[in-house]
């Protein structure tokens, strides 16, 4: 059973698409949009801003990360940032902005789709991108374990936490490959 969303680290915009307004206190603002659909959201956000704004329309998360880095290096306090795009793009962008010193009040996040999630494996640390949801199960791209998507999303990494769905059912076929544990067990480790 999952707790109420507001008691977890999972923001509402990570569960369903969202279009936040721009903070009227802003003295300057920048919108970073990944994908065509996000440009519409970003345009609306900028139209609602009182302060002068800039729009960056980008095709990939990597390009958007580079833009966020460049903007953070120049920005003065008073500035507001919008990151818009699929959840798999905005979570890493938010992580970068927070690492650069932004506080939540300075950062708007808009999701155009929340169908795909990035899930960090608690066992092998690989990050899986897959269509799933909180409480869903995905195979890990790193170790093939079947990961339960936990109701936790890391602000630092921008990914959900996943752990083996049946970790307490010892010795069943449900263990992904189960190879690593079996070997350790046989070695008496």
């Amino acid at each position: 059973m999952n707790p109420a969303l507001e008691l977890t680290s999972v923001p509402a915009w990570a569960v369903r698409p969202s279009t936040p307004p721009c903070d009227p206190a802003a003295t300057a603002c920048t919108a970073v949009a990944v994908g065509a659909e996000a440009v519409d959201v970003a345009t609306t956000w900028l139209a609602g801003a009182v302060a002068p704004g800039r729009l960056h329309a980008l095709a990939s998360t990597d390009e958007a990360l580079a833009v966020v880095d460049a903007e953070l290096a120049e920005a003065r306090v008073g500035w507001r940032l919008l990151v818009a795009g699929p959840l798999t793009a905005v979570l890493p962008l938010r992580a970068r902005a927070l690492a650069g010193g932004l506080v939540d009040a300075e950062l708007s996040v808009a999701t155009t789709t929340t169908d795909d999630l990035l899930v960090t494996c608690a066992h092998c640390a690989a990050v899986t991108s897959a269509p799933t949801h909180v409480g869903g199960v995905v195979p890990c791209v790193g170790c093939d374990r079947r990961l339960l998507v936990h109701h936790h999303v890391s602000r630092r990494q921008g990914t959900f936490l996943g752990y083996q769905v049946d970790a307490e059912q010892w010795g069943t076929e449900q263990w992904g490959t189960g190879q690593w544990e079996t070997e350790r067990w046989e070695e008496g480790a």
Binding site: D23, A26, T27, A51, R76, V77, G78, W79, G100, G101
Partner: protein, 317 residues
């Protein structure tokens, strides 16, 4: 409740007119508890063991393994007597203080620290500056003071060098403040301490320039005189008794008058010691301790300054 420390005056410094710096040490000369930069102690301003006013004074010295606590106190002749008592201390006198309390800490993740001091509000700012210099943090200091001698000016100059700007004129202060607040790299945090009107000016300018509240940190060092307030009734839930609280009498005074013992220290809404639980009714908050969220929750109040918004308040006492 904070631990009480019994200290001895090692030295007093009256170089700056109206301001006395006092160096307090342990009687055995040992190390005192370290503290977070920006911390204060509550000083019992009277002989140990007597009931005297307790004033909050910021610690200005080094915060790591300190051999002494140093405070700087502006003499207020119209005050409640706390500062006059400090100004009468002599070397060797005993002074009771609480262990340091932190209500104005630096944000360690900040990219830069903008410190803005007004008058004697320089004391916690000096503590922040020491720590910023010690740890190599990016820092800028604005110090507004009256022309002439100002408390800790030499200390600030030595520590901050070119990063210090002194302002002695109100217009120049406003202009400089606007300019500097408008040109801080994102990730900067603002800390201000000074008279209430000064901090309002700084805070309003920052907000107008788009600073979110998370980046603005203020340290109050006293409340301005509060109005006497309306009379109301306090109902004590445990006994069912009703205690009348007339206009001009604090709820704390009324409770003590009715024979209740409520833990308290500063009696001026800055220490948080006399917080009591509200069972029913709406508090009228007048303290500087509770957060906006805590005030909105309306389930506790500081009975030394806060009152009832209506004519009745039920307390869990």
């Amino acid at each position: 409740m904070s631990t009480s420390l019994s200290l001895v005056v090692a030295a007093v410094d009256d170089t700056v007119p109206g301001v006395r710096s006092v160096r307090l040490v342990r009687p055995d000369g040992g190390t005192l508890p370290g503290f977070t930069p920006g911390s204060h102690v509550l000083v019992t301003c009277g002989p140990p063991g007597t009931s005297a006013v307790a004033n909050a004074y910021s610690l200005t010295g080094d915060s790591v393994a300190p051999r002494a606590y140093t405070i700087s106190v502006l003499r207020l002749d119209a005050g409640r007597g706390g500062s006059r008592w400090v100004h009468a201390l002599a070397t060797g006198d005993r002074v009771e203080v609480t262990s340091p309390r932190s209500a104005f800490p630096p944000v360690l993740a900040a990219r830069r620290h903008l410190l803005v001091a007004g008058g004697i509000g320089v004391t916690p700012i000096l503590s922040h500056l020491r720590s910023a210099v010690r740890w190599g943090r990016d820092v800028e200091v604005l110090y507004a003071h009256r022309p002439g001698a100002a408390a800790h000016l030499e200390d600030l100059r030595d520590l901050a060098g070119d990063a210090l700007t002194c302002l002695t004129d109100r217009t120049a202060l406003g202009d400089h403040l606007e300019r500097r607040l408008a040109d801080q790299p994102v990730g900067t945090h603002l800390y201000t301490c000074g008279p209430a009107g000064f901090m309002d000016t700084v805070t309003l300018a920052a907000r107008r320039l788009g600073w979110p509240d998370e980046r603005i940190h203020v340290e109050h060092f006293g409340v301005d005189d509060l109005d006497p307030g309306e009379s109301f009734e306090a109902v004590l839930r445990a006994s069912g008794r009703t205690v009348p609280v007339p206009s001009g009498t604090s709820l704390l005074d009324a409770l003590e008058g009715a024979g209740l013992s409520v833990p308290n220290l500063c009696r001026q809404g800055v220490c948080g010691e006399c917080r009591v639980r509200v069972a029913a009714g709406t508090p009228l908050h007048r303290d500087l301790v509770l957060s906006d969220a805590e005030k909105a929750a309306a389930d506790t109040l500081l009975c030394c300054v806060s009152r009832a918004a209506d004519d009745r308040l039920e307390l869990d006492l």
